[in-house]
Symmetry: C2
Subunit: 327 residues, 2 copies
């Protein structure tokens, strides 16, 4: 017989979850943040069932992994790679299986093992749908990346390929692909992995830090591409007040990605990619792509009203990039 969280009650549930958290956290309502020598950054992310995740597509461990990595990615794209702690609030229907909750936390801990930090507290409540609310705290570090830090004449850099997560989701849901084409089994595998187990760009951030030419300041613009590549570029343009020109021949695509304009569309507006999209001086960009093999210069910035163009001067339709706006 399946044990639900209603069967065991809240106190016993919290007892079972103790092993996933810093010890001594259950007795009190607040937790101490360990790091206090450096300035701290905090983010908050909500994952709502059937909007951000679904049991039909991902198991609880994968969902737990994704909850943590989504938050970690927000810290990384701000320049923070020393992850300090997480608080986890969960809303669960009382019919939720205990095993599901334990697997969720196991998936979280698998990610924490790799990216750092610890779960230091949280809250739980019953509710009609599953919701996971995480606040992640990391130490501030250089470069402190902001969307608004770009200057005209920067190179735009993507630290990895885009569109894989959307392809993975489509494959998992047996949905139509952009065109009928035979995909390599390696691409299929990479796409499903990208969707189920996204890997935030912690190594790319460290390479960025290590490759800064001494003659340059730490000024760098960046964001992650969790809302899609084009939306990231758009965000940088809007916050920095400049234009972007993208090279049609330099789209950051998987080596096995089919050649087709509809497939390009998925690369540009796939979403749930967790790469860094950066706007940095050319010298730094060149040093980075030399050191970090999946990084690629995808275009440049220039003066002008925020907008995005192809290098043939054609304006890029960015309406599609807003598909991740809720409501």
């Amino acid at each position: 017989m399946v044990t639900t969280i209603k069967d065991i009650g809240e106190i016993e549930l919290l007892n079972r979850l103790k092993k996933f958290m810093r010890s001594g956290q259950i007795d009190d309502d607040v937790a101490e943040i360990t790091s206090y020598k450096k300035q701290l950054l905090i983010n908050n992310d909500l994952l709502v069932e059937n909007i951000h995740f679904s049991d039909k597509i991902s198991n609880a461990k994968d969902i737990g992994w994704k909850c943590i990595t989504t938050n970690v990615s927000d810290l990384i794209c701000s320049g923070s790679d020393n992850i300090v702690s997480f608080t986890v609030g969960i809303v669960l229907p009382s019919s939720t299986n205990l095993t599901w909750v334990e697997n969720l936390y196991e998936g979280m801990c698998e990610a924490i093992e790799i990216f750092g930090g610890e779960i230091i507290g949280g809250d739980c409540s019953s509710g009609a749908i599953k919701i996971i609310s995480i606040s992640a705290i990391g130490e501030k570090n250089e470069p402190r990346l902001h969307r608004g830090n770009a200057l005209p004449g920067d190179c735009l850099v993507s630290t990895g390929n885009h569109g894989l997560s959307k392809l993975g989701l489509a494959l998992l849901k047996s949905e139509d692909l952009p065109s009928d084409v035979q995909l390599s089994s390696e691409l299929v595998q990479r796409a499903i992995q990208a969707h189920k187990r996204p890997y935030p760009a912690i190594n790319a951030l460290r390479a960025l830090r290590e490759t800064k030419p001494e003659s340059l300041s730490w000024r760098a613009a960046g964001t992650d591409s969790s809302d899609g590549l084009l939306e990231s570029v758009k965000g940088i343009c809007k916050s920095s007040g400049c234009q972007a020109v993208l090279s049609k021949d330099s789209l950051p695509k998987d080596p096995d990605w089919p050649e087709h304009s509809n497939w390009n569309e998925w690369c540009l507006n796939g979403g749930e990619d967790y790469e860094l999209v950066l706007s940095i001086p050319k010298k730094w960009a060149r040093a980075l792509i030399k050191e970090y093999k999946t990084a690629k210069i995808i275009g440049f910035t220039r003066k002008g009203k925020p907008n995005i163009f192809w290098d043939n001067l054609e304006e890029i339709n960015t309406n599609q990039s807003e598909i991740f706006q809720h409501f």
Copy 2:
């Protein structure tokens, strides 16, 4: 015509909410925590529609106030009264009125004006029900209150009266009261105020700090009574491994509270009271109640298996105190 958040979309919604947040927070996914000289405490609280709040009983401003004060109370009952910042995650059905959301934030800001801090970031998502997830950060301070800090021989102190919020809720919902009795209009007013606009015990905490006898260390046990007076005492007993003896004649009741055992029950197990329940040495307790007029010694702790007794040695049934366990 009513404007919903679907009508204006997420970007415009965030624009409208900008004025409630620290400036410059919208452009990036993370926020900087201002304080970094002191060690920080963090809590996380989820408020779920129809479980923790309902539009039928409270307006959006009151709900906003309560979201913040619930979190502030968690920090205060840990000894932190210098509130630094809040992150606010909200899940909203897309049919939610824009005015409701703006009023929610106004209510939050009314509380922030009094208790300190600022909204530094957050997240929003659509969802079938309204959920508000807040993480509050405050500076660590002495005494660092824990439930597990009590020692046998301590005095148990309540910093204010209990049961008012439950009475207020019953009045607002026109539910049955513990007995048929005429209530004073002042009690009615205090009860409704306690339910709609709970006031965390920040002044009591400061009085506690100021009245510590020099001869004593900062060792003090404490919690807030958001889950009810008896549940607070029980939590201290369980975490500290001791027993509590409560004085039947010293229940912390409103001066106009009816004399009746059913009414005592509401005082003990009302919940959503935001007073401090403390376990501290007698000398400190006496100094505190002298200085802080609504504080009252309600009993004492002693060695023994965690349990609660009346001073006539009758064991207190604490099953009722678990009504705030979810699931």
